[in-house]
Symmetry: C2
Subunit: 191 residues, 2 copies
């Protein structure tokens, strides 16, 4: 059975943040990446890429093949509530499915109380704490990526580290191959 | 007049390679990013993102507002000829429009003779040279990014450097702001 990784796209999703992760996952024979959103309308990235949606959250019930849910950042996480996405993540997490969020999506998770007991990173959580009464400050770690209790969180500049943590969690390849990938993309190689 | 940056998408385009570049360009008020391909069918990335196409190459004639053409890498550059894309790039370049290519797209340019007199980088050009009689070897530089005579070329691990070179060429912001962006994304910041 091929494992499904769901990529949650919102309006003005950040092109680069989950890019390494989805490319690495989807090219593995045992995995497939599918997009999911609040509806089936294409979602336009910050970069202007109009990307189609495979599943609507309201019609998605069967988590049996889902290996991971990835939430890239984007400009609308802060300005919209996205309660239906929060409910979807809460349900998936309750069923034991890991959640990976980066940049603005970590703030979104915090806002909905999903990081209250999770060690997490994430940009601008301090601002968020002030504005919204966020109460997970004690679990905040000053790192590019944090992995705790089925949640991966990362900063906006940590797209490669985010993918590395995801590849390790999904075990998409041997530890050695994943390490080679990380060193190559983290440090760059001049040919 | 808003300047247009064309992103050439092919089947199995590499999600991460132009991601920083298009996001940075499209969020500037003076620029818009549009996708273009050999036809108007959506093109699926390596990561499985089915992205819609704004323009077909065969119907695109007016380059007056075009500021740049970006060619991200991808798995089909090596296996397909894409002669219509080569003709399109040649025509645009002849009209003085800069071309930015990364990873497999640099090999594609080399294959069609478009880098013969250009200092360039690019992955696996050595292999390409052997297999296809590529004759631009003397212009090859062992660097993550090369900028020469209106061509920007970059390696697959150089997505941030590629964007940095593009931002500088387009002058999307002040030199200081572009430098701040580069330092932030090149080195990462732990909040």
């Amino acid at each position: 059975m091929i494992k499904v990784v769901l990529l949650v796209l919102t309006e003005q999703w950040a092109d680069w943040e989950a890019a390494y992760a989805v490319a690495g996952i989807n090219e593995e024979p045992g995995f497939t990446v599918k997009t999911i959103s609040t509806d089936l309308l294409p979602k336009i990235s910050i970069g202007g890429l109009r990307t189609e949606i495979d599943y609507s959250i309201e019609d998605f019930y069967d988590f049996s093949n889902v290996a991971l849910i990835i939430l890239p950042g984007g400009y609308t996480w802060a300005e919209r509530q996205y309660s239906e996405i929060a409910g979807f993540v809460r349900e998936a997490s309750a069923q034991g499915i890991p959640i990976a969020a980066i940049c603005g999506a970590t703030i979104f998770l915090g806002k909905h109380g999903l990081l209250d007991n999770i060690r997490h990173t994430g940009d601008e959580l301090e601002c968020f704490e002030i504005e919204n009464g966020y109460n997970g400050r004690n679990n905040y770690v000053a790192a590019q990526v944090a992995v705790d209790k089925g949640f991966i969180t990362a900063n906006e500049t940590a797209a490669v580290d985010f993918a590395y943590a995801i590849f390790g969690l999904l075990k998409i390849d041997t530890d050695e191959e994943i390490e080679l990938w990380y060193n190559k993309f983290k440090n760059g190689i001049a040919h």
